[in-house]
Every structure is written in structure tokens, then in C-alpha cells.
Symmetry: C2
DNA sequence: ATTGGCACTCCAGTCGTTGGAGTGCCAAGG
DNA sequence: CCTTGGCACTCCAACGACTGGAGTGCCAAT
């Protein structure tokens, strides 16, 4: 069955190219992998694979290099995700266990990912809009001044001050607090907002809400709708870009620029939060011009892997199985840590 | 007066080398700057300057390049800080005005600095230990559960939960709140800690403090002593490293690695918070091996320029007057913004 | 102290040359 | 029909020789 062997050849070429960083020729292939055929046979296969667009030749008489399409086939059908060793798992767990708060978890994750993959790591902060409301606290600092504390499942805490036009007594305050929590606690942000909205609109013919209630709920909704902190990502391991050796001004500069455009990164990571698996975007598959010559390996984390995303950016020539394994492992441990705390 | 001319020659060499990035020769010098002498004269001066260690020759028959010592002399005695134009000032102000919170101020400052100087920018978060206490809020979430909110002059807000062994009534709570604020409000963190400590120790023979007071104050002191967030710095503009063109693996990689070592950066910036002026560290003057071939231009910001520091890291071959002006201008505006909010 | 003249140095770019790795194709063998 | 050895061909990358030009240092003259 020569079709099968062709795929084996593609796999071998990808693996060799990734490790040697040089175009791979037919002779070297048969030596390193024990394909029981001659170089000439391999050449025929390679010619066929090139014909189909999986390989590319830098110059007429050079070895072959995988194309984006070749990597794609490799990732989809030829690679088995390398299982992480127990030592690696222990290292990951140990490194993340020490985290003391959300910031620390995120920062440690970035460093860890960058170190494991030797690529540039990107971690998104837990998304506000996908968190659920854990608790809302309403306390009086003064008779006309309330402090709202909004505690989310992601561990984030938001707080707002509300000035009232009139005094509010403890009893009314308690009632307000329990009504708000009844409506919002446990809900996803979006649902909490609509529930709170219903509260003040007096949906079903109930009398209009008291001014104090309106003020509090409005502030709360504003806090929940404040998506700007959604836009936070942390980037690390840029020193790994040094391995780009060649074509610096042409390939590293735009990449560094893209990495500082956090909006761009968020778009990139956004695609990864759908579906539980590790997402791989190879070369120009994505919408972002500047990253056309790089690959992105990312996945969601948190409950249902939908809270936010993390991943790495690197050259298309990368160790996909190993990288995917590392990304998945880190995402799992981060999810667990967040769940515990 | 030939001594005077020699300095003029040094200045001219620094300026030309910064703008052309190439060793500068005697002929080019007399053409570009209207020194009314011949190239031969300049050559004598250059030989003397080299003898004294201000210049260096890459090869026997090449132009001259300033040494670290040469830059140092230039910065200390030959350069006038370029005044920022009103257009620049408006741009800076406009860019920073839009900031909505502390995070935003810091992030905008980094981008602004990187853009103005075309170097790598580094901004330290306001130092906890140098902030003063603006207000302490103590509210009961439940009879045995208190929420402490610590608001600092830097705009930072810390909060802690305290579980009590016994119930506390509103009256006692109010008393506790005002005693704490009396002791701490307006004080520098360190002083606030000692004042609070005195509160529970009952310094002058007063009866020992109530258990609730002890618990609250201890938690508060702990929050104030939590210096880990002191260690935060934000780095931006790494894409500007691309201009390092030559010697990538040798000079950019260690630099990128150093930039990720935030502890290292903090040490670097730490030196800059003393004294109100802009600090310039050239080449190997500082303690950090990895940055031996770069310069750091930094200054403090905030009240007395002592709250925290910001600055840039770049090649020793940089436009010192312009860079110093930009750093100073940004620091001033950041200070102003923080003061207003 | 300054300057023109002059010999000297040395890098950077250019141009052949060449060796080796790799290919494509073909004809022979399973 | 697939595989294989042989062979001519291609082309890069490395090496070395060459050379022009920019720059210097020194010296004698002013």
C-alpha cells in the first residue's frame, strides 16, 4: 500500500524538519527512519506529495519542506498527542500550586507555558462575561453611601460606591441585598444583568422600584457590563523568538508588534474557547496578516473550557504533538486551580 | 582654546554616530558641522580623545565610536535636555487623560514611552510601601464576618475578609472603624503599621484591646505588609528591539530574557527613584550583566518622584537628550494624573 | 597649534570557483 | 505496476582572491 507509506514519509519529513531545521532529503530520510525502501522510491513519493501540495522545495536541488497544508495533515491525521510524563505533570502542578491569587496564577501560567514549549506564551485573563456571580454584597458605609462588592466565580472582585439621594435603613438594605442575590447569584453575567434589569423594571405590573434600588442595580449592571478588563492578556517568553535566527527584521518585528496588540491576540484566542479540544491554527489559516508565518496552539480553560483561553505562538515549524500536550496540560491544571480556590 | 574644541568634537561624534549608526571619520565631521578647521586637526583631537578613553576605533582604519565613558561625558556636560514641544506635551497629555484607572494609566504610559522614544519602555506600578493610606473601611457582611477595604493614595485598593470568634455590634464596629482611621489615615504605610500596632499593644498602660480589634488590625497590617504587588512592572515596545539588526542572538536574546526577569528590572528602576532628576545608566555602569551593552534612562514619578519609577532600556547608542526629555515629560504627566485622581 | 601631503591599513563588497547534497528521469528487475 | 540502481544535472553555500575606498597616522611646513 503506497498511500500509507506516503503518509509515513510526510510524517517523517515533518519530524525531521522540525528537529533539524533544514530541508530534508531522500537519503537522510531512509537512514533515520527505517523505511525499508530505497531513496529513489522516497523521491517518487516526495514528488507525489509535492504535487498534492503537502511539500515544497526551496530550490530545485534542495530537500523538501512541509507546507502549511502538510503541517495541517500532520496535525489532523498523523500525530498522536504526546502524553505528558508524570514528572512533567508533577512539575506543572508544583509550579502552579504555589500561586497566591488570580494574578499570580496567570503570571505563573505564562512562564510555565513559555518554558515548556520554548515558544511565546499567551494567557488571557478570565473573561468577565463568562463568569458567574458568586455573591453580591451591599453594605452601608454611611446612611446615603453604599459599597457594592461583586464577587465572581473567576475569583475577580469588583467594587463600586453608590451615593443615594435619601437615607436608607438597615431593613430596606437587607431586603434589597437578598433580592439582588436571589436574582443574580449563580447566574452567568449576561443572565444576571437581565434578571437585575427585570427587578427594577417591575416586569409584571409590580409597583416601580424604589429610587435606592434603581441606583444600586444600575451601578451593579454597569460594573457587570464593564468589559474592559476582559481585554487583558499576558505575554511571556518573547526571548524564545531569538531562535528565529534568520529573517529577523522581516519576521520577528511584525510578530513582536502583533504580540503587543492585545486586541489582536484576544481575537486569536477567542477562536480557541469553542469546543474543548486544543486548537491549532497553522500559518495563514487565520485572519491576522502579521501572523501569517506562524502557528498558534491554544485552548480554553476554566469550567467547560469556556472561561478564557491560553496558548502559544510560534513558527509553523514546531513540535506540534509536544506543544499541544503542554498547552493542554497547563490548561487542565489552571482549570483545576481556579476551581479549587 | 583647543580643550573646548575637543569637547565640541566629542559632541559632534556622538551626535553623528547616533544618527548614522556608523563610525564617524574626520572628513565627514568637518563637513557636517561647521568646525572651522581642517580634517587633520580633527584627527589630532580624536587621537587625544581616544587616548583619554572617550573614543574607540573598531579597526585601525575606521572612524571613531564613542565609548561608555564618552557617552557619560556627553550626557553629563555636553548635552542640553531637549525641551519638549508644546505639540508633544499636548499629545502626551491627551493620551494619558483618557485613562480610566490605575492599570490603564500604567499601560498607556508604557505604550506612550515606547512610542516616543522608540525604545523598550518599562513602568513600575506605584509602590505600596511609599503610598499613604487614604481611607480604611470596615463593614460587617455578617455578625462574625467583616470586610476590610484599604484604599491607598496610589489608587490601589486592597481588601480582606476577617472572621471573628464572637459577634460584634454596630456600635463597637463604628468605634473600631474610627480608631483605625484616626491612626492610619494620611500616614505612609510604614507609619500606619506602627500606629496600628500601637493600637493593639495598648502602649501606655491602657487595657488590652478586644479580640475583634486584634483580629482586624492584624489582618490590616498583613495587607499593608504584602509587598508582592510591589514587584509589578510592565514592559512594552519590545518590537523596537528589531532595530538591533546586527548581533541578534548575542545581544537581543539576553536583553529579552532580562526584560522578563521583573526582579532585575525593579532593581534597575529602584536606583532611579532617588533624587528628582532623570537617571542615566550607560553600558556596564550598572550591576546587571545582561544589560552591559545597553543604557537605561529612568526617573521616579508620583509625589516627590518617590512613588515608583519608569524609564526605557536601549542601546548605548541612543539619542540621550531626546530620550531624557521624553522620560521626564511622561513622568511629570503621570504624576499629575495620579495626583488628580 | 594648524595644515596639506603621503604612505599605509583594513574592511566590505564583488566575483569566480568548487564541492557536495539533492533531484529527476530512465531502464532494468521483481 | 511498483521498486531500484545508475547517471546526468542543478544549484546553493562556502571559500578565497581581488580591489576600491574610506580613514588613519605621521611629518614637514607654515
Amino acid at each position: 500500500m503506497q498511500e500509507e507509506r506516503r503518509l509515513a514519509v510526510l510524517r517523517a519529513i515533518v519530524e525531521d524538519y522540525v528537529s533539524t531545521e533544514e530541508p530534508v532529503g531522500s537519503k537522510a530520510l531512509v537512514e533515520r527512519h527505517h523505511l525499508n525502501v530505497s531513496p529513489a522510491t522516497i523521491r517518487n513519493d516526495m514528488a507525489a506529495l509535492e504535487e498534492e501540495g503537502y511539500l515544497h522545495q526551496p530550490h530545485t536541488s534542495a530537500g523538501r519542506v512541509p507546507t502549511d497544508k502538510g503541517y495541517r495533515l500532520f496535525v489532523d491525521r498523523l500525530s498522536t498527542v504526546k502524553p505528558t510524563t508524570s514528572a512533567e505533570r508533577r512539575a506543572i502542578a508544583g509550579f502552579l500550586e504555589g500561586a497566591i491569587d488570580l494574578d499570580d496564577v496567570v503570571n505563573r501560567s505564562v512562564r510555565l507555558l513559555a518554558q515548556l514549549t520554548r515558544q511565546v506564551a499567551v494567557v488571557q485573563y478570565p473573561t468577565l462575561s463568562r463568569s458567574t456571580v458568586r455573591h453580591v454584597e451591599v453594605v452601608a458605609l454611611a446612611p446615603t453611601r453604599l459599597l457594592l462588592v461583586l464577587i465572581l466565580s473567576s475569583g475577580r472582585v469588583e467594587q463600586r460606591l453608590v451615593e443615594l439621594d435619601a437615607d436608607i435603613d438597615d431593613e430596606a438594605l437587607g431586603a434589597l441585598r437578598s433580592r439582588i442575590n436571589l436574582a443574580a447569584t449563580g447566574e452567568v453575567i449576561a443572565d444576571a444583568v437581565t434578571a437585575l434589569d427585570a427587578l427594577v423594571r417591575g416586569a409584571d405590573g409590580t409597583p416601580p422600584a424604589a429610587p435606592a434600588t434603581v441606583a444600586v442595580v444600575e451601578t451593579l449592571i454597569e460594573a457587570m457590563s464593564d468589559h474592559r478588563s476582559d481585554e487583558r492578556v499576558v505575554v511571556g517568553g518573547t526571548a524564545n523568538l531569538a531562535r528565529f535566527g534568520d529573517s529577523f527584521e522581516t519576521s520577528v518585528r511584525p510578530l513582536l508588534e502583533a504580540l503587543e496588540e492585545h486586541v489582536v491576540l484576544l481575537k486569536l484566542l477567542g477562536e480557541a474557547t469553542t469546543g474543548g479540544a486544543v486548537t491549532v491554527r497553522i500559518g495563514a489559516e487565520g485572519p491576522i496578516q502579521e501572523l501569517a508565518s506562524t502557528s498558534v496552539v491554544a485552548t480554553g480553560y476554566g469550567p467547560d473550557d469556556a472561561l478564557a483561553a491560553l496558548g502559544i505562538v510560534g513558527p509553523t515549524r514546531m513540535d506540534y504533538p509536544g506543544t499541544m500536550a503542554a498547552v493542554r496540560a497547563v490548561a487542565r491544571y489552571v482549570s483545576r486551580i481556579l476551581d479549587e480556590s
